[in-house]
């Protein structure tokens, strides 16, 4: 028999249940779950729903750490259910709860709208004087590999909310922007195509902005994509201070390079297939 389908052991899964229409407060419910080798927490939740309790509610989509939908508290640590193997975090018991620092919609589903409202406030897109070029491009903005490297790590964020759940500052100050929006603010301010720093600094440098971070570093610990939000926040603070001291290096947003005019088609390249739509 293939090892991947072999039963590893049976564990007790404690699930934090909450139905706002019925429950006054969340409570724990436990299930005896047969765990196979290689089974992820998300697989386990599917098995519970299919074989033990069809009423449990959880959010998922891609099953491959790309969409960030299935972030939850796994044995007390925010993580993606789809890329956490049960055998890596539990031998006897597994406790699953919704992400803290968010309202609960139902069972394991947090309401991420507060995070996305803050995300929207930092204008997470390329801001330039020539916005018409951004909306209706006539070419592409030139960017060197070195310029790309400056923000690439922070662009890997999948907005799962794990960093927000791990942040101790956010736990006491719900208005604090939080690691994800601050990281994305830095990501766009560092993009050589962008010129939106002066607009964003009004939000990022305000009372509930970057200065509330006291570098606990838990956001970077729990990030499933290795984005390192704590680093981005410190770099954001540095840029704000350098800007205040008028020491920040000014950059001219990347210029538009039109389509090549003297390029010749490689005769060996096959023709593209005809349009189907």
């Amino acid at each position: 028999m293939n090892q991947q389908t072999q039963l590893w052991r049976e564990i007790t899964v404690y699930l934090r249940r909450y139905n706002p229409e019925r429950d006054a407060k969340p409570h724990w419910q436990h299930y005896l779950l047969p765990v196979d080798y290689g089974m992820t927490v998300l697989d386990g939740l599917h098995r519970i729903r299919e074989t033990l309790d069809p009423t449990i509610v959880f959010r998922f989509s891609c099953r491959m750490s790309v969409c960030g939908s299935c972030a939850m508290l796994i044995n007390g640590k925010p993580a993606l259910a789809c890329n956490t193997q049960i055998s890596a975090v539990a031998t006897e018991t597994l406790a699953l709860a919704p992400l803290p620092n968010f309202e609960i919609i139902k069972d394991l589903v947090p309401d991420l709208s507060s995070m996305f409202r803050k995300h929207t406030s930092i204008q997470p897109y390329i801001r330039r004087a020539d916005m018409e070029e951004v909306e209706k491009p006539t070419g592409e903005f030139l960017q060197s590999p070195e310029e790309l490297t400056r923000y690439l790590q922070f662009a890997y964020c999948i907005k799962c909310g794990a960093c927000m759940a791990g942040c101790p500052t956010l736990a006491t100050d719900p208005e604090y922007l939080g690691p994800m929006p601050l990281t994305q603010a830095y990501r766009y301010c560092t993009d050589s195509r962008d010129a939106g720093f002066h607009d964003r600094k009004k939000v990022v440098g305000a009372g509930h902005g970057a200065y509330r971070c006291h570098y606990a570093g838990e956001c970077s610990n729990v990030c499933p994509k290795g984005v390192d939000p704590a680093r981005a926040i410190q770099l954001m603070k540095r840029d704000l201070v350098l800007d205040y001291l008028k020491l920040k290096r000014r950059h001219t947003p990347a210029v538009v390079a039109g389509p090549p005019t003297d390029a010749k088609r490689n005769p060996k390249a096959p023709e593209p297939p005809p349009y189907t739509v």
Binding site: K201, G207, G209, Y211, L240, Y244
Partner: protein, 122 residues
């Protein structure tokens, strides 16, 4: 931008404290190893009254005392403000904390400055 200004001066004050407190440690605790550099003119312990009196009469030391006092007050009060704000007070309470800290901080600074200048006159 106000928070950026506060934060920047918090960092500057931290750097000033690092330097001046280092100097304090050298003068007060490591003088037997590193020499007194003329700061313990009567010899003996650095905290001996005559040595303290002699240092208090040096203009450079008075300037250092006042600088250290200002930096330590600002750095400490900003840190305390950050801790208090993390408890989630409302806007009115935040404003009250700001006002109390500014008035209290300036009051303590003036008091310390007067004491340092008065000690120079002894």
């Amino acid at each position: 931008m106000r928070e950026t200004k506060y934060w920047t001066w918090h960092i500057v004050a931290g750097a000033v404290i690092l330097f001046l407190l280092g100097l304090h440690m050298l003068v007060m605790h490591l003088y037997q190893l590193l020499g007194t550099w003329g700061l313990n003119p009567v010899g003996g312990a650095a905290v001996a009254w005559l040595n303290v009196l002699a240092r208090s009469r040096m203009t450079a030391m008075v300037v250092i005392y006042i600088l250290l006092l200002g930096a330590a007050l600002y750095h400490g009060l900003y840190g305390l403000r950050t801790i208090l704000f993390e408890l989630g007070p409302g806007k009115a309470l935040q404003m009250a904390v700001n006002v109390v800290f500014w008035i209290g901080g300036i009051g303590l600074f003036v008091l310390g400055t007067v004491a340092a200048i008065a000690a120079k006159m002894l």
